[in-house]
C-alpha cells in the first residue's frame, strides 16, 4: 500500500470503526455509556486539553517582535498609507485588533492566495514561464465550511435551552428560508457537505497536496462528514424522537442525566462522533482555532523602532569589543591615518 492509500485507509477505517462501536454498543443497551458517560468525558477532555495547550503556549515567551509586515510601515508623516497598509502592518494595538478580526472572521491571509503555474510560452527563450494568478477557491471552501459549521452548532443550541432563545430560533428560520422540503430544509446542511467534499477532493486531486496529507488530516474530514451525514439522515430520512433527544440533552445540561426511551441508534452514532471530535480537538491540528489568536506574526504591532520590545530571557553575549580590535590592528590603523584610542608604541619611538 502506498503512502496515500495507507493514510486514507487508516483514517476511513477509524471513522467507520467508531460508527460501528457506537451502533453495536447501543444495540447492546449501552445507552448510558454513549448518552451520558462519553459526552461528559469528551467535554472534559476538550476543555482540559485546550486549557492545557493554551497554557503551554502562553508559558513560552515571545522573545522578538516578528509581525509580517504586509503593507507600508508608518514612517514619515507624508508617506501615504492606505487602509490596507494600516491593517497589514499595524502601528498600534487597535490596528492589530483589526488585523486579527479580519484574519479570524474573514480569513484575510487565505483571501490573498495565489496560484502559480508553469506554462509553456514559445516567446520565452526557455519556452516556459511562471504565471501567478489570484486563487480564491480554497478561501471560499474554507469560509463556507467554517461558517456553515458555526451556524449548525448555533442551531443545535435549541436542544440546550428551554424555551429556545429568540436569536437561535431566528437563525434557524433564516437558514431554513429555502422551504421546498418538509421538514424545513437548512441551507447550511448542503453548504457544509459541498465544502467538505471540496476540501477532501482537493487533497486527493492535487498530487502535491496528496503528498503532504496525513491520516491525521483525512481523519477530521471523514469524522465531520460522518457527523454531518448522520445528522442529515436523522433530520430528513430516518427521523428520531426529537422530544426525547431534547430531554436527554437537557438532562446532561442540568447535570441530572436521564436516558429517555425512543431515541434511535443513529442519534447515538451522531452523538458519539461529535464526542470523538471534541476529545480529538486539543490533540490535533484542529488546535488552529485557538492557535490563530497566538500567532506572533499576526498579533503584534509593527512598531519595533519606536517602542521597545523586551525579551525576558535576554542575556549578555560575548562580542569582540572595540579595544581588542584596536589592539589587533593598532599599528596598521595608525599608519593608515585612522584615529586610534591609544597611540602605538612604535610610533612614539619613530617620532622621537
Amino acid at each position: 500500500m502506498n503512502f496515500t492509500q495507507r493514510h486514507i485507509t487508516v483514517a476511513l477505517a477509524a471513522v467507520l470503526g467508531l460508527i460501528a462501536v457506537a451502533y453495536v454498543g447501543v444495540q447492546g443497551n449501552l445507552q448510558l455509556l454513549f448518552g451520558v458517560v462519553v459526552p461528559y468525558l469528551a467535554l472534559l477532555l476538550f476543555f482540559e486539553g485546550i486549557i492545557y495547550r493554551v497554557i503551554k503556549w502562553a508559558r513560552s515567551p515571545v522573545p522578538f517582535k516578528i509581525p509580517t509586515t504586509a503593507g507600508q510601515v508608518k514612517s514619515l508623516p507624508w508617506i501615504p498609507r492606505t487602509l490596507g497598509d494600516k491593517l497589514d502592518n499595524p502601528e498600534s494595538k487597535a490596528w492589530v485588533f483589526g488585523r486579527m478580526a479580519l484574519e479570524v472572521l474573514a480569513f484575510r491571509s487565505l483571501f490573498r492566495n495565489t496560484r502559480t503555474e508553469l506554462v509553456s510560452d514559445p516567446k520565452f527563450p526557455e519556452k516556459a514561464r511562471l504565471v501567478h494568478w489570484s486563487y480564491k477557491w480554497l478561501w471560499l471552501g474554507a469560509i463556507a465550511f467554517h461558517y456553515a459549521f458555526l451556524i449548525i452548532v448555533l442551531r443545535h443550541l435549541r436542544f440546550f435551552f428551554e424555551p429556545t432563545p429568540q436569536p437561535i430560533a431566528l437563525l434557524s428560520e433564516i437558514d431554513g428560508f429555502w422551504q421546498f422540503f418538509i421538514p424545513t430544509f437548512y441551507l447550511t446542511d448542503i453548504i457544509i457537505v459541498l465544502a467538505l467534499l471540496y476540501l477532501l477532493g482537493r487533497r486527493l486531486a492535487n498530487a502535491n497536496l496528496r503528498y503532504i496529507t496525513l491520516a491525521s488530516d483525512y481523519f477530521p474530514l471523514f469524522l465531520i462528514l460522518g457527523i454531518v451525514t448522520t445528522g442529515i439522515l436523522m433530520r430528513y430520512f430516518f427521523k428520531t424522537d426529537i422530544t426525547a433527544v431534547k430531554q436527554l440533552v437537557m438532562g446532561l445540561v442540568s447535570l441530572k442525566p436521564v436516558i429517555p426511551a425512543g431515541i434511535s441508534p443513529l442519534f447515538y452514532v451522531h452523538l458519539f462522533l461529535v464526542c470523538v471530535l471534541l476529545a480529538y480537538f486539543p490533540y490535533s491540528k484542529l488546535l488552529h482555532a485557538p492557535g490563530v489568536f497566538f500567532s506572533p506574526t499576526r498579533n503584534m504591532p509593527g512598531n519595533n523602532r519606536w517602542e521597545l520590545h523586551v525579551n525576558p530571557w535576554n542575556y549578555p553575549v560575548k562580542f569582540h569589543p572595540y579595544m581588542e580590535y584596536e589592539d589587533q590592528f593598532r599599528d596598521a590603523m595608525y599608519e593608515a591615518g585612522i584615529p586610534v584610542e591609544k597611540e602605538p608604541e612604535t610610533a612614539e619611538v619613530e617620532e622621537e
Binding site: D88, T114, Y211, I212, H288, F319
Partner: protein, 544 residues
C-alpha cells in the same frame, strides 16, 4: 561543475515521487548544497564541535551524543520561543504556502514546499514531545530522529532563504523563516554549518566585515571609490573613519564597498553626503551592516549586531544612518533594540540636520534608513536633481523580501525613483510578484556561495521570470533594489536568465542625478557609461 542551460532548468517537474516523503532521502547532488564549514571558523567564534567533514561523506562525524543535544536543544527552544511551539501545533497542511516558495517553484522538490520543510522538523517534535505522536507514529506524521533525518534538515534548511513569502499566505501566519532559523541553531549545536555563512560570521566578528577586510583595506577600498567620484564628477567626496564626535555613524553592508555594482551605490552615498555637507563617519570596526550571524543563530546575530551600538557609544555620535540592505534592516527592525535590552540612551532621537525632520518612527531604535532619509530630503526640495542623467535607464524595482515582509518599506524607494528617473522610465513587475508578495533573489541567508549555483539559479527563477516579463514588455534594462545582497546575487541570476538587465541600487541613481555647484560637465554615469545625448551614438539606445 557545469551549470545546466536555462532551458533545461526551466523544465521544472512538479510531480512528487511515488514513495512517501518519510522514505525519500535527499540526493546530495553537487550544485545543490553548500560546503561544510571549515573548522577554523568555528574555532574563531567558539562554536561547538569544529571538525573537518564534507557534506558528500557518508559519515558526518556527529558527536557521540548528538541526538540528546538536538532533542534537548529542541526542548529548550520550545520553552523560549512561543512561535516554534505554536507553529508546530497548528499547521493544518492546507498547502496555501506550497506554490509560494521560490525554491519549490524552481526545483519542483516537494520538500521545498514550506509545509513539508516544516514537517521535517515537526515530525521529530511530534515523536518526542506529543502524546499522540508517541502513540500513533507515522500516521500523525511523527518519526524517529536519526542521522538521515539530520542530513535532511541540513539539506532543506539551507534551501530556505528566510524570505517569509510562505508566511504571508499562511492563514495562521506560520513563519517558516522562524523555524528555519531555530532549525539551523539546532544543526549548529552539533557542529553542522555551511562554510560561506560561517566564514562571513567569523570575519565580521574578528575584523569588521564579512570579506575580512582589515581596517586599512576597508579605508583603501572606500578612498578608491571617492577618487572615482572625483574622476567622474569633479567633486571631492572626502570620507572620515572612526571619527569621534561626528553627528552620524553610517553603517552599510560590505557588499557596497567591495564588489560591483554595490560600489556604485556607495559612490552615490558619498556624493549625497558631500552634497549635504553632512557630519558623518564610517567605522572600520562596525563596518558591516549585513548580519551573517543571524543566518546561523539568534545568539550569533546578537554578537555581531552588538558592535554597532557599542561603536556608536564610543564615537559619541548622535544617531545612526543605515545603508541599503535587506536583512541588515530586518535584523535592525525586528531584533536590534530587543537584543540590546534597553533604549540606547547615549544616542538621540534622529533628526535630519538638513530638513529638521524628527524621525519619530525611530524614536527607540535611533537608526534611520537611507531611503527614508533621502525621500525626506527630496520632499523638502533639498536636492537639485537632473533625472535626464538617468535617461538611459528603464527601471523596475525589486522589493527585497526583508525590507518588505520584515519591515514594510515600500513607498520611500519608489518616491525616490520617481524623482531621479525621467517620467515614464519606471515600470512595476506583475502585482503578485512585488511589494509584500515579492520573490526572493534565491541566494540570501548565507547560501550565496558558488558551489550551489544550480540551486541558486533555480531558486531565483520566479524572480527572474517576472523581470523578464517587464524586460520583454517595456524594454526594462535595470533592476533597482535597496539590498546589498540583491546587488551581489541578482547580477549572477539575471546574467543567467535575463542577460539584458543590470542591477542597480537606488542611491546610485541619486548620485547620477545630483547636480553639484562647480561640478564638471558629466558625460557618463557612475559606471562610466555614456549619458543619453553624449558620445558618438547620440540619443541611441544603451548597449547591454
Amino acid at each position: 561543475m557545469s551549470l545546466p542551460k536555462p532551458e533545461e532548468l526551466a523544465r521544472v517537474n512538479y510531480q512528487p515521487p511515488a514513495r512517501g516523503w518519510m522514505e525519500v532521502k535527499p540526493d546530495f547532488r553537487p550544485g545543490t548544497y553548500c560546503n561544510a564549514a571549515s573548522p577554523k571558523w568555528l574555532e574563531w567564534i567558539d562554536y561547538p564541535y569544529p571538525r573537518a567533514w564534507s557534506v558528500a561523506d557518508e559519515d558526518w562525524q556527529l558527536p557521540q551524543n548528538w541526538k540528546e543535544i538536538v532533542l534537548e536543544g529542541m526542548e529548550d527552544r520550545l520553552a523560549r520561543f512561543r512561535s516554534l511551539k505554536l507553529f508546530f501545533d497548528i499547521c493544518v497542511r492546507c498547502g496555501a504556502c506550497a506554490d509560494k516558495c521560490h525554491f519549490f517553484l524552481g526545483t519542483g522538490d516537494p520538500k521545498n514546499m514550506p509545509v513539508l520543510r516544516a514537517e521535517l522538523l515537526r515530525s521529530v517534535y511530534k515523536r518526542y514531545f506529543t502524546r499522540i505522536g508517541k502513540a500513533l507514529g507515522e500516521i500523525v506524521g511523527a518519526r524517529d530522529l536519526d542521522e538521515k533525518v539530520i542530513k535532511e534538515w541540513f539539506y532543506y534548511l539551507y534551501q530556505c532563504t528566510i524570505c517569509r513569502r510562505c508566511s504571508l499566505f499562511c492563514p495562521y501566519g506560520i513563519d517558516m523563516a522562524e523555524m528555519t532559523l531555530l532549525g539551523r541553531e539546532m544543526l549548529a549545536s552539533v557542529g553542522l554549518n555551511i562554510d560561506w555563512a560561517l566564514a562571513s560570521v567569523a570575519q565580521c566578528y574578528d575584523k569588521g566585515s564579512h570579506i575580512g577586510a582589515t581596517p586599512q583595506a576597508f579605508k583603501d577600498m572606500i578612498d578608491f571609490l571617492a577618487e572615482e567620484n572625483e574622476r567622474i564628477t569633479g567633486i571631492k567626496t572626502p570620507v572620515s573613519y572612526n571619527r569621534k564626535g561626528a553627528e552620524i555613524l553610517f553603517v552599510t553592508p560590505s557588499g557596497d564597498y567591495f564588489a560591483d555594482p554595490g560600489t556604485f551605490t556607495l559612490m552615490g552615498y558619498l556624493l549625497l553626503f558631500t552634497y549635504l555637507d553632512l557630519d558623518w563617519t564610517f567605522s572600520t570596526y562596525a563596518a558591516e551592516g549585513g548580519n551573517f550571524g543571524w543566518f546561523v543563530s539568534h545568539e550569533m546575530g546578537k554578537r555581531l549586531n552588538a558592535k554597532i551600538y557599542h561603536e556608536a557609544e564610543r564615537l559619541k555620535v548622535k544617531w545612526i544612518l543605515g545603508g541599503e540592505c535587506g536583512h541588515m534592516w530586518r535584523v535592525c527592525n525586528q531584533y536590534m533594540p530587543t537584543w540590546y535590552g534597553q533604549v540606547p540612551s547615549f544616542l538621540e532621537v534622529p533628526v535630519s540636520p538638513i530638513t529638521g525632520t524628527v524621525f519619530e518612527n525611530a524614536r527607540v531604535h535611533k537608526m534611520v534608513h537611507i531611503s527614508e532619509f533621502t525621500a525626506d530630503l527630496i520632499r523638502h526640495n533639498k536636492l537639485k536633481l537632473d533625472p535626464q542623467r538617468n535617461a538611459h535607464i528603464k527601471l523596475t524595482f525589486h522589493d527585497s523580501c526583508n525590507t518588505a515582509r520584515g519591515m514594510g518599506i515600500f513607498e520611500e524607494p519608489r518616491y525616490i525613483i520617481q524623482h531621479v528617473l525621467p517620467e515614464g522610465h519606471f515600470f512595476e513587475m506583475p502585482p503578485n510578484t512585488i511589494r509584500e508578495k515579492t520573490f526572493c533573489c534565491g541566494s540570501s541567508s548565507g547560501i550565496n556561495a558558488n558551489e550551489n549555483m544550480e540551486l541558486r539559479m533555480q531558486g531565483g527563477f520566479p524572480r527572474a521570470n517576472a523581470v523578464r516579463y517587464v524586460h520583454e514588455r517595456y524594454g526594462v534594462n535595470h533592476l533597482g533594489c535597496i539590498c546589498a545582497l540583491d546587488r551581489a546575487t541578482l547580477p549572477t541570476l539575471l546574467q543567467y536568465w535575463v542577460p539584458e538587465v543590470d542591477v542597480t541600487g537606488i542611491t546610485e541613481l541619486v548620485g547620477n542625478a545630483l547636480v553639484f555647484e562647480g561640478e564638471i560637465e558629466r558625460t557618463t554615469d557612475l559606471r562610466d557609461r555614456d549619458l543619453v545625448g553624449v558620445g558618438e551614438q547620440e540619443g541611441g539606445e544603451e548597449e547591454e
